[in-house]
Structures are given as C-alpha cells and as structure tokens.
C-alpha cells in the first residue's frame, strides 16, 4: 500500500450549518462541543477517550473568537490532555491540522486526537475582516488601500492571472456554477437552487474582476474529526480512512502572499500550494492522475483554478480552458483528464467552516458513503486555504 497509512480518521461530526448571525446565542464552546460529541459518536468511542487536540488557525474560531482545550475538557468531561497544539496563521492550515494530529499520535504523545473548527460571524464577518483588523505598522502598508477582505485581496491575483494567461470570467463562472450544481441534492447546503450564467454575469461586482458569486458563503457552525492510530482505527465502528499523505508549509516566494504582494510572476498567479503538492505526491507515491476526487478549498473561485494548476490537474496557465471544458464537473465515474471537484458543493454553495467541509467530504468519499460519490474512489485530495503560510494539503485513502 502506498503512503503513510499509520493513522486514520475514524469519526466526523458537525453542527447544522447556519447563515451569518443564525447561531447567535450559542457559544463557540457549545458549537464545537456538539461537533466533537457527534464525531465521537460516529467513531463509536467515548468523548472521555480524547487525549489530544490538534488545531489550525492558532486555535482561533473564525474572526475574533478562540477555542481552548481546557474549556472542552471542563464541559465535555475529558479527564487528561497529552497534546494541545495548533498550526499558525489561518485557514491555510485546515488540511495540515490532520498532520499535526498524526504527529501527536506517531510520537506517542496522544492516542485519540480531535481537530475542530467552530465559526460564528456576528462579532466580525469574514467579508470585511481586513478592514476591521487593528492598525499595525506592517498592516499600514495594506489596509489604507481599501482592500477590505480576503476576496478583495485575491481579486488582484485573479486579474494578474487573466492578464498573464488570458483567463476569463467564464472560467470563474464555471467554477461557481458547477459547485452550485453539486449542492442541489445536499440536505445541509445553504444554496440549493441552480445558478445560471445570466445570474452569474449579472451578479453584483464586489472587487472586479470578482462578483458576489465568486465569493464563498459567510456561514456559521462547527466540524470536528477524530484521528487515531491505524491499529486502533480497525477496531472502531467506521471503515478507517487512512492518512496517505499530509503536509503544511510553503516557500518564501509565497510567504505572506496577498498581504505582501511581493511574489515573483509565476507565484503571484498561483495558490502557493506547489511545494505542498510535490511533497504530498512524493509521500503518497502517486501522481495527480491517481486522485479520484478533489476537495479544493474554495473561498474564491480563481483560487480553485490556481490550485488545480498547482496540484497538476492541468498545466500552469491552462486552468481556464481546463475548467471551461467541463473537466471539474462531478461524474460518478472518473474519466481520464477530468476530476470531480467539490462534489459536496464546497464553501461556495454548501457551507464555509474554514476548510473543514472539504475534510468531511474526503472522509465520506473514502468510506464510499458520499451523497455525490465517485465510484471506487481510492484517493481524495483535501486542501487548505491559499493564504499566508502555512498552506497545507491532505491525501486520504481507503483501508485494505
């Protein structure tokens, strides 16, 4: 068998997904606790067996809230924690947090490790988070420009990609429309009506070249997953989903990315994920052609396109023609040269929980239990957000 396969994801749980403001009155600790309990129930283990927490985004819960292991121990009755750590920066680390869980398990520090994200947006919405940041000496070289949120920042990368490679808005439209198509039969999806080309092209322009349909949803909720050793995993309720490869990090030429804008030409028009892709494929002993389903962090449509290039599903600069050919549309059987992207409806149409819904779908695809299943899928790629380093990626597999 190819890849790491020394740990596996054994449980996954989530709250309902809420529109912005709809979970007000419920605390972050309660939302996260609901997700953790659901993940433990799914795995068939007691919450009291959790002995590790592996977070990302500095254990932040969205924008302005925090998660604390001690709070979870107090309220859920977890007796002892042997590992409590987080990846740095933001949503770039979502997939990589599973690698942090693996590190705890392989090192022998902890045996049952939870990765959780809970998100509410009543204090601060994602869409204008840059404008709301405290004024700092370095931030003063970005904030005064009026680039108020992450989508505004990335619109500048998108325009450069259009300039350099001839990419058009038709490509972004196809990503938004195909992702919406995938959400239509999803009970938990926030957006469940088809998105037409006319609607897309008459959508409100927020930061040209991007319109409202290029931006992900601003939703609320929590998702938790439980990781343990492969041996333990085989004794639990669900079919284990082994971690085949996982990496976080990145190179200086991406660095702070769109908080900096100093990237060389090729990197400027990328997602910063190329070094992660190379490490994942090497660890897994596979190539992009072996990936059966791609759960791509879709906060903004052009960053999906650039990740498809960085992960080698098409050549650099060819992302536009690739998606416009229909190659990312969900099909129940993979055809060569195509890849089903975000069959769960992604963050654009199902719900945004800072990358965790991509991991949920990867798990369900590898269990063979996804709503929009790719038949006989053996490898699922889940990515973290193109953002300030670290960025990250994860390849999940099937056991046995």
């Amino acid at each position: 068998m190819k890849g790491l396969r020394d740990v596996a994801i054994v449980g996954v749980g989530a709250t309902p997904y809420y529109r912005r403001g709809e979970s007000a009155g419920t605390s972050i600790t309660q939302l996260a606790g609901e997700a953790i309990l659901a993940a433990c129930a799914d795995a068939g283990i007691s919450v009291k067996e959790i002995d590790g927490f592996a977070y990302y985004s500095g254990a932040g819960a969205g924008y302005g809230d925090k998660m604390e292991s001690a709070d979870f121990m107090e309220t859920l009755g977890i007796p002892e924690v042997r590992f409590s750590a987080s990846l740095t920066s933001g949503g770039g680390g979502s997939a990589g947090a599973i690698g942090l869980a693996r590190a705890a398990i392989v090192a022998g520090d902890a045996s049952v490790v939870v990765t959780v994200m809970a998100l509410q947006q009543q204090k601060q919405r994602l869409g204008t988070v840059v404008a709301a940041k405290p004024v700092t000496p370095i931030g003063s070289f970005l904030q005064p420009s009026g680039l108020a949120g992450p989508g505004h920042l990335m619109s500048i990368l998108a325009r450069r990609h259009m300039h350099q490679y001839g990419t058009t808005r038709d490509a972004f439209a196809e990503i938004a429309i195909s992702t919406r198509e995938n959400a239509l039969n999803r009970p938990k999806a926030i957006r469940k009506t088809p998105l037409t080309r006319d609607e897309y092209f008459s959508g409100r322009m927020i930061a040209e070249p991007l319109c409202v349909y290029d931006f992900c949803l601003e939703t609320e909720g929590a998702v938790a997953v439980v990781t343990t050793s492969i041996d333990r995993a085989r004794d639990l309720r669900q079919r284990p989903v082994p971690v085949v490869a996982v990496a976080h990090g990145g190179t200086r030429d991406w660095g702070r990315a769109f908080s900096w804008y100093g990237m060389p030409d090729d990197t400027f028009t990328s997602s910063g994920h190329r070094p992660i892709a190379a490490r994942l494929y090497k660890q897994a002993g596979i190539t992009p052609q072996d990936i059966d389903v791609a759960l791509i962090y879709d906060h903004f449509t052009p960053m999906v396109l650039m990740q498809l290039e960085d992960y080698g599903f098409c050549d650099k600069g060819e992302g536009g023609p690739f998606v416009e050919s229909g190659a990312i549309r969900h099909a129940s059987r993979r055809k060569p040269g195509t890849i089903s992207v975000n069959p769960h409806g992604g963050q654009l149409s199902e719900a945004y929980v800072i990358g965790m819904t991509q991991i949920v779908e990867g798990i369900e695809q590898m269990r063979g239990a996804a709503i929009n299943q790719v038949a006989d899928a053996e490898f699922a790629l889940c990515t973290g957000g193109p953002a300030s380093l670290p960025v990250s990626g994860l390849v999940l597999g099937r056991d046995g």
């Binding site: 004024v135 000496p137 370095i138 003063s140 070289f141 005064p144 420009s145 500048i156 100093g262």
Partner: protein, 142 residues
Amino acid sequence: MIATALPSDVVRIATDAVTEPFWQAAKQRRLVAPKCGDCGTFRLPPTPFCPECQSTTVDWPELSGRATVYSFAVVHGYPGLPELTLVPAVVELPDAPRVRLVTNVVGVEPEDVRIGMALTVDFHPITGGWLLPVFRPDAARE
C-alpha cells in the same frame, strides 16, 4: 465616476522605528523605499532585516515617484461607505527593483486603468497629519 482613495478621516496608520522613515518622508511629499545599506537590496514593506544578507543597516533613497500598475482591483463599497469606488493597486517602482507597493490609483475612470499603466505619485491626507502615497496616471508617459 472617478476613483478616489479612502476618505481622509477613515485612514489610520501605525508606525514603528522600522517603518517611520517611509511615513516621515511621505509627510514631506517624498516617496522613499528602504534599501539595504550593505548589499543594496530594496524591500517593501519596511522590515527589520535585509532578507538577502540579514543586515539591519538601511538607506532611504528618494525615488522618482514613477510607478507602473502590476495588478489592480476595482472595489465597489467599503464598510460604512457603500457608494465608494476604489482602485486598489499593486505597483512596481522602476527605481526600486523587485519590490512592490500596495496603493490606490486615483483621478481616473476605473475602466481606463490597465496593467502596465504609467503612474506618478501624489499624496493624500489621512488622520494624524500623515500623508498617504497614492498614484495618478502619468500623462507625460501614457
């Protein structure tokens, strides 16, 4: 609709010892950029160490004020200012090679802005008595 910068009373900046020379020069309507005093490499934004040689010695040469558009957005609305149209831009500075400045293109119809457009610096008043470097189309070079 002519693109502007954010209204003066909305823009606040913070400075520290490393970044303040940039803002002090701007206050005198001079555009400067930090250049390593040892190896001559430019960097932006100003940071404590030269990323090439790790030196902390820095010079602040005055630049010509010329720039070209590397990429840009046309932003419609800002928190509390829904009617505003801004053209935030990443610009290259011909006399500070390999660094970029994040700024605004002002005094132009947004639909006329192009990647590669020649610009020249101007200074926009902001809170605290500071001036913010922004850029206008350079009529002589366009």
